[in-house]
């Protein structure tokens, strides 16, 4: 057997496992030389100044009442107050599906509780109205219920994937309503706003850009020159253009080019976001496709599988698995990029935040409002990236050898 370099190291150079005491650890790591001591002291001073002034601002100066006073518009815009149950229904649908997904994916109960408990706690701590608290409680109950019902039932995941797929049109239907109906009247998209609009834009963008991106990636690799040229041209055109420009184009140009087709403002923003994300998604997927070795195509073909079947059953599953991190990264940036629709006059979370601080009553409270909006963006992005890490870990076994 060969000797490894680690085995050859004398024991004295191995890192010490546990420090003997806190005082000794401090002396060895932070105050071992005069310049390290100086650095430590200066850093401590900076940290102290930053924390103390932030805390003083957050607990003394900041006027947090602006948040509860504007919470409803921040969350749902100007959606008719009598119709809010429709948004709650949509939320409860998602809560149940999320719980069920955690259950089938073999997530541990503790982990699910760790996500849900803070939400329940927050709803009690913050000054919310009781109906809101009840609905949030119901959402928590549905997450837990979905988890218990589907726990360990891995076989059900194709059904769950289907349910997720159909939840998108279902949520849009809930939001839109039916023309001339009494119980569920049409709510025009001009009344959509706040976090609800942000989430809908992100959701539609995610659901549409992944399949379109896959098709574009396959198109770019197609052996038919027309298809590969068109796909490449579209991808490169979009990737060379800032999202703001695309949103403006969708906002201003579409009505000029297609005046008969009066496409809704929100739908135009959805189209813009989808086109933009699809191009990046296509490049991510293409990267994954290039990583699948030639032998995989040959093995599938040698079994007599047709080209499309080979792609669907052998190549794409491997390619997509390999690029899950970058796909989720794309989803996260799409979620944050939806804030740009405020520029074309949509009142998403950031748009509402801006209109709140423009109100003379809340003059000068930018910091409070933007901090709150930022916190919400972070909360959702963090959840997405955590679930991506869980998926990666769950698939770790099946990495190509």
């Amino acid at each position: 057997m060969q000797t490894s370099p680690q085995g050859a190291l004398p024991p004295s150079t191995r890192p010490r496992l546990a420090p003997a005491s806190l005082g000794r650890w401090l002396k060895e790591n932070l105050f071992n030389t005069w310049y390290n001591s100086l650095l430590t002291l200066v850093s401590l001073w900076f940290v102290w100044v930053a924390i103390s002034s932030t805390a003083r601002w957050a607990f003394a100066t900041a006027r947090w009442e602006v948040i509860p006073a504007n919470l409803t518009p921040l969350l749902i815009g100007t959606y008719p107050r009598g119709q809010v149950w429709r948004i709650w229904t949509a939320l409860l649908t998602v809560a149940f599906l999320a719980g069920a997904t955690a259950g089938t994916a073999g997530g541990r109960g503790k982990r699910v509780a760790a996500w849900v408990a803070p939400l329940a706690l927050a709803s009690l701590l913050f000054p919310l109205r009781w109906p809101t608290r009840v609905m949030l409680g119901a959402a928590v109950a549905l997450v837990a219920g979905g988890y218990w019902l589907f726990r360990g039932k891995r076989r059900l995941w194709p059904w769950l994937a289907g349910a997720w797929f159909f939840s998108f049109p279902w949520i849009l239907f809930l939001m839109w309503g039916i023309e001339g109906s009494g119980a569920m009247p049409r709510v025009e998209t001009s009344a959509w706003g706040g976090l609800a609009l942000t989430l809908i834009l992100a959701m539609v963008g995610i659901a549409a850009s992944l399949p379109i991106g896959i098709l574009l990636a396959l198109g770019r690799r197609s052996s038919l020159p027309v298809i590969s040229w068109c796909s490449t041209a579209l991808i490169e055109l979009v990737r060379g253009t800032p999202l703001v420009t695309i949103l403006f184009m969708a906002h201003l140009m579409v009505p000029i080019f297609l005046p008969e087709l009066r496409i809704d403002k929100v739908v135009r923003a959805m189209i813009g976001l989808t086109i933009f994300t699809s191009a990046y998604m296509a490049e991510n997927v293409r990267g994954g496709l290039q990583g699948v070795p030639k032998g995989q195509y040959e093995a599938a073909m040698a079994l007599g599988m047709s080209g499309p079947l080979t792609m669907l059953l052998v190549i794409l599953p491997q390619a997509l698995r390999a690029v899950i991190p970058s796909i989720v990264g794309q989803f996260i940036s799409l979620f944050k990029d939806t804030s740009l629709v405020a520029i074309i006059g949509l009142l998403d979370l950031l748009g509402i935040a801006r209109s709140v601080i423009a109100n003379p009553r809340w003059l000068g409270l930018q910091a409070e409002v933007f901090l709150f909006a930022g916190l919400i963006y972070w909360l959702f992005s963090f959840t997405l990236s955590q679930s991506s890490r869980r998926i990666e870990r769950a698939l770790g076994l099946t990495k190509p050898s």
Binding site: E298, A302, G304, M305, P317
Partner: protein, 250 residues
């Protein structure tokens, strides 16, 4: 296109192939009988792998004719897929599908190409895994198996399509020495079953024992063609003698 049925399951007439300017196959003409076991050997770069890959159209030939089980290989996709269904292939690098379990690897072809019922395919797969000696690995992923086990799964996967012909492209060249035997044992057992086998290999012991005929390739041509006892005892060509002396006394 159907050519008159004959005892020969593979007929090659003057097959040529170029990779760019490089003339890989220079007029291969050979007939292989139903149930015949043929071992193909020769120095690396002699075109033996390329030749076996033209038989199921993983490489396409540019001149000459190849007729497999009465169907001529042309650009016609239907013919190609029909021939591939009758022809199992085992690769040097195994090429198992890493995202599927062993069982799913084996049932994929039967379910999607042969339109077999899932339960039937699973039964077939389990019986094949018994045959290659690793039924207990059915629910593992390929990356959890040793090289020898992976190659045995690959053989089972090819057999699941119930092919008439099995092509082996250097099946033991990527294996550690201690795993070569387990794969060759499976192939020996398979040879008893009457299936047509073409094996590209350097395992001369296997060739001596199993082959009905040995084809010796050099520089894109079949230099010598003989039953094993003749091939090893009295090689005719200088090139064959040199090759045998190198491979047997290294």
């Amino acid at each position: 296109m159907n050519v008159s049925q004959s005892d020969d399951i593979i007929i090659c007439e003057d097959v040529h192939k170029w990779f760019g300017d490089f003339h890989v196959l220079k007029g291969i003409s050979v007939r292989i009988g139903r149930g015949e076991k043929v071992v193909i050997c020769g120095p690396s770069g002699s075109g033996k792998s390329t030749f076996i890959r033209t038989l199921n159209r993983l490489e396409h030939h540019q001149r000459g004719r190849i007729i497999v089980d009465g169907i001529e290989l042309t650009d016609d996709l239907k013919n190609i897929e029909a021939i591939r269904r009758e022809t199992g292939m085992v690769f040097q690098q195994f090429n198992l599908f890493p995202h599927l379990t062993v069982l799913q690897n084996i049932t994929l072809g039967p379910i999607w190409v042969r339109k077999m019922k899932k339960s039937e395919a699973a039964e077939l797969a389990m019986s094949l895994l018994e045959r290659v000696g690793i039924p207990e690995q059915a629910h593992k992923y390929p990356s959890q198996l040793s090289g020898g086990q992976q190659q045995r799964v690959a053989i089972a996967r090819a057999l699941a399509m119930q092919p008439k012909i099995m092509l082996f492209d250097e099946p033991t060249s990527a294996l550690d020495p201690e795993m070569i035997k387990e794969v060759l044992d499976v192939m020996r057992e398979l040879a008893q079953s009457g299936i047509t086998m073409l094996v590209v290999t350097h395992e001369m012991g296997f060739a001596r024992e199993v082959a009905d005929r040995i084809l010796f390739f050099d520089q894109g041509q079949i230099v010598e063609e003989a039953p094993p006892h003749e091939f090893f005892a009295a090689p005719k060509h200088e090139r064959t003698k040199l090759f045998l002396s190198q491979i047997l006394h290294h």
